[in-house]
C-alpha cells in the first residue's frame, strides 16, 4: 500500500521573477534574530547614546526663553555633524556594532556550509550573487541600526521639535556623511565578514577568528601605540578605522592619537572591500565554497 494518501498534483500557479528570489532567504536570515531576547537587548543598548542626542535636541528647543534656560542650553553641545560623528563612532556603540557583526556575520555562509544547505540553495533558481546579496543585506540591515537609522530619527526629531526644515540644508552633511560612512565603512565590513564566513565551515570558529581580528587586533594596536606613539599603528584596527571614517565623513576632527591620513583610511577600506570581494568571487565562481 502506498505511503501517500493524496496523489501528486502539479503546481499551476505563478512564479516570481528570478531577480526577487533573494527575499525569502533574507527574511529567513533576519527574523530569527528578532526572536532572541539577548540580541534585541543589544540593539536597544546601542540606542542609548542616540537617546542622549534626542534629549539634547529636546533641551535646546523646549527649555524656553528664561535666562537660566539659555545659559544651560549654551553649555550643552549643539546637534550638528560633530555630535552625530560622536554618536555614531563612540566606543560603546562601536563595540556593540562589532559584537552584532560577529554574532550575525560569523554564521552567514559558514552555517550553510556546515549544514550542507548551501548546495540545496544554489541548486535552486537562485544565483550565487542573489545568495550573497540576501546574506549581506541581512547583516547590513542590522548594521544600519547603528548608523543611518538613528541619524534619520535624530534628524526627524530635530526638525519636528524646532519646526525648522532649513536645519537639514544647513547640516546636510549629517545625512550624506552618515550615508557615506554606512556605504563605505559598514559596507566594507559586511563584505569582509561574508568573505570570512565563506572560508569556514563552523560559525563558532569564524566567530573566534573575527573576535581575534577585531578585538585582539585593536588591543595589539593599543599596545604597539603605547610603545611607539605612532598613530599609523591604528591602520590595522577595525574599530579605530571606523571611528576615523565616521569623523572624516561628517567633517569632524578625529581624536588626535588616531588621526590617520585620509588616504590611509581610504586605502584600508578599499583594500578590505576589494580583498573580500575577490575572496567571495573565487569561492563562489569556482564553487570552492561547496567543497
Amino acid at each position: 500500500m502506498p505511503v501517500y494518501e493524496q496523489g501528486y498534483e502539479a503546481y499551476t500557479g505563478v512564479r516570481k521573477p528570478l531577480g526577487r528570489r533573494w527575499l525569502p532567504l533574507f527574511r529567513d536570515e533576519l527574523l530569527p534574530y528578532f526572536r532572541k531576547r539577548r540580541f534585541v537587548f543589544l540593539l536597544l543598548l546601542a540606542m542609548i547614546p542616540w537617546l542622549y542626542g534626542i534629549a539634547l535636541t529636546f533641551l535646546h528647543t523646549q527649555l524656553g526663553d528664561a535666562q537660566w534656560a539659555k545659559e544651560l542650553a549654551g553649555q550643552l553641545p549643539q546637534v550638528d555633524e560633530a555630535l552625530v560623528a560622536k554618536l555614531m563612532a563612540n566606543g560603546f556603540d562601536l563595540f556593540l556594532l562589532l559584537v552584532v557583526c560577529i554574532w550575525v556575520g560569523s554564521g552567514l555562509v559558514a552555517r550553510d556550509r556546515r549544514d550542507r544547505t548551501l548546495e540545496v540553495f544554489l541548486g535552486r533558481g537562485l544565483g550565487a550573487g542573489q545568495y550573497l546579496w540576501a546574506k549581506g543585506a541581512a547583516l547590513g540591515l542590522f548594521l544600519l541600526l547603528f548608523s543611518l537609522l538613528p541619524t534619520l530619527v535624530l534628524v526627524v526629531f530635530q526638525v519636528g521639535l524646532t519646526g525648522d526644515a532649513g536645519w537639514i540644508f544647513v547640516h546636510s552633511r549629517v545625512l550624506w556623511g552618515s550615508l557615506l560612512y554606512t556605504v563605505v565603512g559598514l559596507g566594507s565590513l559586511t563584505v569582509f565578514v561574508l568573505a570570512l564566513s565563506s572560508l569556514g565551515r563552523s560559525p563558532r570558529v569564524v566567530g573566534l577568528v573575527l573576535v581575534g581580528i577585531v578585538f585582539f587586533g585593536d588591543a595589539a594596536c593599543g599596545i604597539l601605540y603605547g610603545i611607539t606613539r605612532n598613530p599609523a599603528i591604528w591602520f590595522f584596527s577595525v574599530a579605530k578605522e571606523l571611528e576615523v571614517l565616521a569623523c572624516r565623513c561628517l567633517g569632524a576632527p578625529p581624536p588626535h592619537f588616531i588621526s590617520l591620513p585620509l588616504w590611509l583610511s581610504a586605502l584600508f577600506f578599499a583594500g578590505l572591500a576589494a580583498l573580500s570581494a575577490g575572496v567571495l568571487f573565487l569561492r563562489f565562481a569556482r564553487r570552492g565554497v561547496l567543497q
Binding site: P2, G7, Y8, E9, G13, L18, P24, E119, L290
Partner: protein, 311 residues
C-alpha cells in the same frame, strides 16, 4: 516524448584530478539509474548538472534548452535530493519545504500550501510542524524528497535517496518514486544499491572513474549479455560437462548435483539440449537463471578491467 536531459561530453576536474572525463548520455524520461562504485563520479555528475561544480567542458540540455550547465531559470525545472543532510536545524518541516519553494519562485502563500501538499504526499503530514533535527533518517529522506517536489520539477535528481533507510522505509520511498514516474516525472537515481535500480529504473548508466561504461536499457542489456542456466544431467560421468567446455561455455558443478552453465551471446537453450544429446543423455532439470543487475554491473566493470573494491 523527447529527451528530457541530454549530457554531452562533460568534464569536471578537481585540481589535477579528473572526476568526469567526457560523460555522455541521454535521459528520455521515466526513471534512469546512475550506477557506479564509490568515487565513480555519480554525485559529481549530479552536481555538474545543477551547476554546483564548474564544467571544464561539455554541454547539458534540459527539455531542449541548451546551457553549459543549467542556469537559474532551468534549475527551476529540476528537483534535487542530496545525499547528505541538507536541512536547516531549528526549522519545522513545513517551514523548510516552503522556504525552498519560495527560492524556486513560488509566492509565499502558494509555497506554504504546496509544502503542506507535498508533505502529505510523502507521508509526513503528522510530523510537518516538528523541527527537522528531530526527524528520523527515513523521515529526513522523505522530507528531502518533498522539498525536491515543492516547485513541481520536470526532472528529479536523487542522490542515494534510500541511504540509511530500513527495508520498509526503502520500499515506501521506491513506491513514491514509482508513483512519480507514473505522474510523468523523470528521475535520475544515483545509487550503489543495485536492487533499487532494478526495482525502479528502465535504463541504467554505469559510471566508473569518471567515464560511462555502459548506458542501455535494462531489458536490452539483459538480452545482450551472457545467459545463465542451471541444469541436471541424467547421465553418469563428466561427458556432458566436457561437451559444454568444448563449446567454450563456463561450467560450474554445484554440490546439490546441478550444473551452472554460462553461455555466451548467441547461444541459447537449444544449444544446451544439443550438448546433452551429444554427451549421450538428457536433462532432468533445466532452469533459466535470471541475470541480476549486480552480475551485469560486475561484468561491465570486469570487461573494462575495473576494480570494484569500492562497492
Amino acid at each position: 516524448m523527447g529527451v528530457v536531459l541530454s549530457v554531452r561530453d562533460i568534464r569536471v576536474s578537481y585540481g589535477s584530478t579528473q572526476a568526469l572525463r567526457g560523460v555522455t548520455f541521454e535521459v528520455p524520461g521515466g526513471a534512469v539509474g546512475l550506477l557506479g562504485p564509490n568515487g565513480a563520479g555519480k554525485s559529481t555528475l549530479i552536481k555538474a548538472i545543477l551547476n554546483l561544480v564548474p564544467l571544464s567542458g561539455g554541454r547539458i540540455t534540459l527539455m531542449g534548452q541548451d546551457s553549459g550547465a543549467l542556469g537559474p531559470a532551468l534549475r527551476d525545472r529540476v528537483g534535487y535530493v542530496p545525499e547528505h543532510e541538507g536541512l536547516r536545524p531549528g526549522m519545522s518541516g513545513v517551514g523548510w519545504v516552503a522556504l525552498l519553494g519560495e527560492l524556486s519562485g513560488l509566492p509565499r502563500r502558494p509555497a506554504v500550501e504546496r509544502a503542506h501538499e507535498v508533505l502529505q504526499y510523502v507521508g509526513l503530514e503528522e510530523s510537518r510542524y516538528r523541527n527537522v533535527e528531530t526527524f528520523s533518517t527515513g523521515m529526513r529522506q522523505r522530507l528531502k524528497l518533498a522539498a525536491s517536489l515543492v516547485h513541481d520539477p520536470v526532472l528529479v535528481l536523487l542522490d542515494e535517496p534510500t541511504s540509511g533507510m530500513d527495508p520498509v522505509g526503502r520500499e515506501e520511498m521506491l513506491e513514491l518514486c514509482r508513483d512519480l514516474v507514473k505522474q510523468g516525472k523523470t528521475l535520475l537515481l544515483s545509487t550503489h544499491i543495485l536492487k533499487d535500480v532494478e526495482a525502479l529504473c528502465g535504463q541504467v548508466v554505469i559510471l566508473h572513474e569518471g567515464r560511462v561504461l555502459a548506458g542501455v536499457t535494462v531489458e536490452d542489456w539483459t538480452r545482450s549479455e551472457a545467459q545463465h542456466f542451471l541444469v541436471q544431467w541424467e547421465g553418469q560421468g563428466s561427458a556432458f560437462e566436457e561437451a559444454c567446455r568444448s563449446r567454450g561455455w563456463t561450467v560450474e558443478p554445484r554440490r546439490d548435483g546441478l550444473i551452472k552453465l554460462v553461455l555466451p551471446v548467441g547461444e541459447g537453450p537449444r544449444s544446451v539440449f544439443q550438448a546433452a544429446r551429444e554427451a549421450g543423455g538428457g536433462l532432468n532439470r533445466f532452469v533459466r537463471e535470471e541475470t541480476s543487475l549486480e552480475e551485469l554491473f560486475l561484468s561491465a566493470l570486469h570487461r573494462n578491467g575495473a576494480n570494484h573494491a569500492g562497492l
